[in-house]
């Protein structure tokens, strides 16, 4: 990148992601044209990614308060009280664009970044989770992207030694041109050991710690805010490379430094690197900073101030040290073999000043960079209504063999199939705290260190429902995450989000964003779990084609006794199985409809938040009474898939009888919607009693046992003949489910062989 002098051409300004109006504001703030490095600094801090310029007006509507909240949004990660003098620190963040360009490094550095957000607050990371959205497995590059992303996440988390304990993977052609890679990290700290990103104390020295700075990811932050197009090839050389070994050293070094009293504040260098970390620290404290850029450890020769300010080299931290403690800090960090050097000083000028061999190259008011960043209330317009699914156009598979075939096809869909191929590549047991592993429960459970308590984690969001109805779909994402956490026996505590949307400059996208915010807010209020951290990722589109709007949710819950965590699988024969709750469900937005129609049609099922809350509370009561031996929520694939999944881990079958409601069998079996859970119990009478007392719908489905899963319609009218909807050996269902993911990646599954064509095979 050449050093240019003002006046800048419109192309140069546009290349910095700035509009002409925004550029004019910069000149007005400065009373002159910005220098080249100043232009770079404004471009990254005023990017969508750093400034939240399109989302800030809406984010204020999210509920962020509660007795459990210690630090809400605004810090590097959210902090909630976990009792016993401990706090939980957690956050989720996107690395979508870098992962699309270079899946392995993009995903790896996403994990690195979210870990730094957590340990920079003084917390020891104890768990990771990943929420991934891919396009159709046979879309161009898709299997390469899937493999690369999983490899990258595993490679980083495994080496750093933080277990990746859960995640969520869905496939939909709407993500063909723009995959989502959202990484979640959770850490634990002592309540009095929290550190904040503050640059306080006039004259205190500023230290740079970690890897040297290279030309990685220059313009990464602006890239993340720009949509893909023909020129995304040209943006390629900006790929950042992660070094998990250095990250591991950073974690240990930082936590060790933070256990002393040498630090005033600390912040990781994330997107927009040195610029954003230093400015944010000074802005939070209302102070100023002088940085001597020539002092920064450099990996390459000939680096310019512009490059040093904008580089997104990984594994770097900025620390403000108490004056007089410099040598202690240096000694502590050097013991870990990391670079550490003094690069600046805290001032009281309110200005961000950078020098280069004594010459001032940046001198701007910090307020202009951070607080006065542009803020837009972008135009919104409701999108045209989504098409409504015409059930009559969808052939009903005949009950029996064809229905079994349909179920087998559904179980093999990569969205529903076992994710073992993914989580086998993640060390999910390191730190000896994983109580419920991936695949075992609706949420993962990790031990809260030094206690017998457990933390449950669930991440996810079904973007189809958000596309059909943004408000409802977003609320459903929260509702499902909460239900997952309650299924294992934990009480929802707090939420983080990662709001993945297309271009905010399109009114219908902005409308869905705003609606989603309201949906999240309603649902979080209904379950008493405030949002304490989050991230917005806009411009998830290629050639104007947007993704399914995907407000990803990460929800944590607490349980008093981790050893009582409940899995999703039927444990043994002879347990009674019940369906709790009577949430709305249908084929609109369902995986079954996607399988048969390949197009998204509505409507989304409705969500009754009060009824959902009742389900959560009653389920917790049942857990407390020790009545639940397994619990699994009904989600993608509907009731039939839910029951099948509950049979797999221990190979325990079930003959389930469902009432004849007049609904079509495919709707009954594969319809999706919120607020339904399948549980098993050893004491059906007490369970019924408890539900009746609470006013929760509760229907007995059958008794576990055998090695077959079968669903029957209860006798209608006076007849006592049941109709068998399907009947299949558990092992057969499990094979289809166990192999589906890899088969899809291999492309071995012939798309023509699945779907309602099974109609013809029925005699």
């Amino acid at each position: 990148m050449k050093t240019l002098q003002p006046p800048y051409t419109s192309e140069v300004i546009a290349a910095h992601g700035l509009t002409d109006a925004e550029y004019a504001r910069i000149e007005a703030h400065l009373g002159r044209a910005p220098t080249w490095p100043e232009l770079g600094v404004f471009s990254v801090l005023w990017s969508e990614h750093c400034s939240y310029k399109s989302s800030r007006v809406h984010l204020g509507r999210l509920p962020t308060k509660g007795p459990q909240v210690i630090h809400g949004p605004g810090e590097n990660a959210g902090v909630v009280d976990a009792g016993d003098g401990l706090v939980l620190v957690f956050k989720m963040e996107s690395h979508n664009h870098p992962s699309f360009i270079e899946p392995r490094q993009g995903a790896a550095t996403g994990v690195g970044g979210i870990l730094r957000d957590v340990f920079t607050m003084g917390a020891r990371p104890i768990a990771l989770a990943d929420a991934l959205r891919f396009g159709s497995p046979d879309a161009a590059r898709m299997s390469h992207l899937v493999k690369g992303v999983v490899h990258g996440i595993g490679g980083y988390g495994n080496c750093v030694g933080v277990p990746t304990v859960t995640g969520d993977v869905m496939f939909d052609p709407e993500y063909d041109g723009n995959i989502l890679v959202n990484a979640f990290a959770l850490g634990v700290a002592r309540k009095d050991g929290i550190f904040l990103g503050r640059a306080e104390g006039i004259g205190n020295p500023v230290f740079y710690v970690g890897s040297k700075t290279g030309r990685d990811g220059i313009h990464g932050a602006t890239m993340a805010s720009a949509e893909f197009g023909a020129d995304s090839e040209a943006k390629r050389p900006t790929v950042q490379v992660g070094d998990p070994f250095i990250e591991k050293l950073l974690i240990e070094a930082c936590l060790e430094v933070m256990s002393t009293d040498v630090l005033v504040g600390i912040q990781d260098m994330g997107a927009a690197g040195l610029t954003s970390s230093s400015c944010e620290m000074a802005a939070r404290s209302g102070s100023g900073l002088v940085l001597r850029l020539d002092q920064i450890p450099m990996r390459e020769t000939g680096m310019t101030p512009y490059e040093l300010l904008l580089s997104e080299s990984q594994e770097r931290m900025l620390m403000v040290c108490r004056r007089g403690e410099e040598s202690r800090l240096v000694a502590l960090v050097a013991r870990w073999g990391l670079d550490v050097c003094e690069v600046g000083t805290v001032t009281d000028t309110g200005r961000y000043v950078c020098t280069w061999h004594g010459e001032v190259v940046v001198d701007v008011p910090i307020g202009a960079l951070v607080d006065d960043a542009p803020k837009y209330n972008r135009p919104m317009a409701a999108p045209p209504p989504m098409p409504v699914l015409d059930l009559d156009a969808l052939p009903v598979p005949h009950v029996g063999a064809a229905m079994t075939e349909a179920l087998l096809s559904l179980l093999a869909r990569p969205t529903i199939a076992s994710k073992r191929w993914v989580y086998r590549q993640y060390d999910h047991m390191v730190r000896t705290g994983t109580v419920l592993r991936p695949g075992q429960g609706d949420a993962a459970v990790v031990r809260l260190p030094e206690t017998s308590r457990g933390v449950a984690i669930s991440v996810g969001c079904n973007g189809r429902f958000v596309a059909l109805d943004a408000r409802r779909g977003a609320a459903m994402a929260v509702a499902e995450a909460a239900l997952n956490v309650v299924c294992v026996g934990a009480r929802p505590l707090a939420v983080t989000d990662c709001l993945n949307f297309a271009s905010p400059e399109r009114p219908e996208v902005m409308y869905s964003f705003s609606e989603a915010i309201d949906g999240l807010a309603e649902a979080c209020l209904a379950i008493d779990a405030p949002i304490v951290s989050g991230n917005v990722s806009f411009y998830n589109e290629t050639h104007k084609r947007g993704i399914l709007p995907t407000p990803m949710i990460g929800l944590i819950g607490l349980m008093d006794d981790a050893s009582r965590a409940v899995g999703q699988a039927f444990k043994e024969a002879g347990h009674e199985v019940f369906l709790l709750g009577k949430g709305d469900f249908g084929l609109g937005g369902s995986e079954y409809a996607a399988l048969c129609l390949g197009a998204l049609q509505g409507p989304a099922p409705s969500l009754d938040l009060a009824a959902h809350r009742l389900l959560l509370d009653t389920l917790l009561t049942l857990h407390e009474a020790g009545l639940i031996t397994s619990a699994h929520d009904v989600s993608e694939g509907g009731l039939a898939v839910c029951l099948a999944e509950a049979c797999f881990e221990f190979g325990v079958g079930l003959v389930a009888t469902v009432p004849t409601t007049g609904a079509r069998p495919d709707v009954l079996l594969f319809g999706e919607g919120p607020s339904r859970v399948v549980v098993s119990t050893q004491d059906g009478d007490r369970l019924i009693e408890t539900c009746r007392f609470a006013g929760l719908a509760c229907r007995r489905l059958g008794l576990t046992g055998g090695d077959v899963l079968s669903m029957r319609l209860a006798p209608a009218g006076h007849s006592d003949a049941t109709t068998t909807l399907f009947d299949a050996p558990v092992s057969r269902l499990r094979d289809s489910w166990a192999e589906g993911f890899e088969q899809a990646l291999k492309g071995a599954r012939d798309p023509a062989s699945v779907g309602p064509t099974t109609q013809e095979t029925e005699p």
Binding site: D243, W336, Q425, M429, T432
Partner: protein
């Protein structure tokens, strides 16, 4: 109290787990010894834990073997002290020449984290002292390079000397089923762990420290810790 020194390389990430298990589950004294130290601080047992010692971008353990503490480990082992290398620790012991063979990349070319079954084989070692030969343990693995390799001559010798300590097997203890290797990582002759001739140095890929509590889904790992306590107490075993 038996003192377990857990060697901590910069990229070790199971060192805390080992210390915790020794202290809180086994009920003995576990403590970390940094890679750049030169003494083991009155250790009775030395554990080399899992992790990525120095990033392990080159061969795993290739750099760690030069750490100052390794001289102390060598001397401790030469005097007959019990040394257990777990996962990365096993890799380090082979690179250091304290155990035969080498651990190559898994045949599937990907990291594997899952429960495995291993069968107790060979002679009694410091860490299998008292374990029933042929008994099957459920132990988790988590590695990218666990594919045990040595030339045939070495493998034959190891088998002949009873230095193959653990073999991957099925839940019922079978190995060598036609067309279905028991080792998930391609390890030669399904080898999961080996010892030196004397039997005081043992290396294995599975993580016994991850399954010493019912809460974590298994307790079989505990048997290795109990075995070495018997060894220390002079209750049979190779010392």
């Amino acid at each position: 109290m038996t003192r377990f020194a857990v060697i901590s390389f910069p990229g070790s990430n199971c060192d805390d787990d080992c210390v915790r298990v020794v202290n809180e589950v086994v009920g003995e004294t576990g403590y970390k010894v940094r890679h750049d130290e030169r003494t083991l601080d009155r250790a009775d047992v030395v554990l080399l834990p899992g992790g990525f010692s120095f990033g392990d971008y080159l061969r795993c353990g290739a750099i760690a073997r030069f750490s100052p503490i390794m001289d102390a480990v060598r001397a401790f082992a030469a005097a007959g002290g019990p040394v257990l290398g777990i996962c990365n620790g096993f890799q380090i012991l082979t690179e250091a020449g304290l155990l035969p063979g080498v651990l190559r990349r898994n045949v599937g070319l990907s990291f594997i984290c899952e429960d495995t079954f291993v069968r107790v084989e060979g002679r009694q070692t410091a860490f299998t002292n008292g374990l029933e030969p042929g008994s099957v343990l459920k132990l988790p693995i988590a590695h990218n390079e666990g594919n045990y390799f040595a030339d045939d001559e070495t493998l034959n010798r190891l088998e002949g000397e009873g230095q193959v300590v653990f073999r991957y097997c099925t839940e019922r203890g079978e190995t060598g089923l036609p067309g279905r290797p028991a080792a998930p990582n391609g390890a030669a002759r399904d080898i999961a762990g080996v010892s030196n001739v004397r039997g005081n140095i043992v290396g294995l890929m599975p993580h016994p420290e991850r399954c010493c509590e019912p809460l974590l889904g298994g307790v079989h790992g505990r048997q290795l810790f109990d075995a070495v306590l018997r060894t220390i107490a002079g209750d049979g075993g190779p010392l």
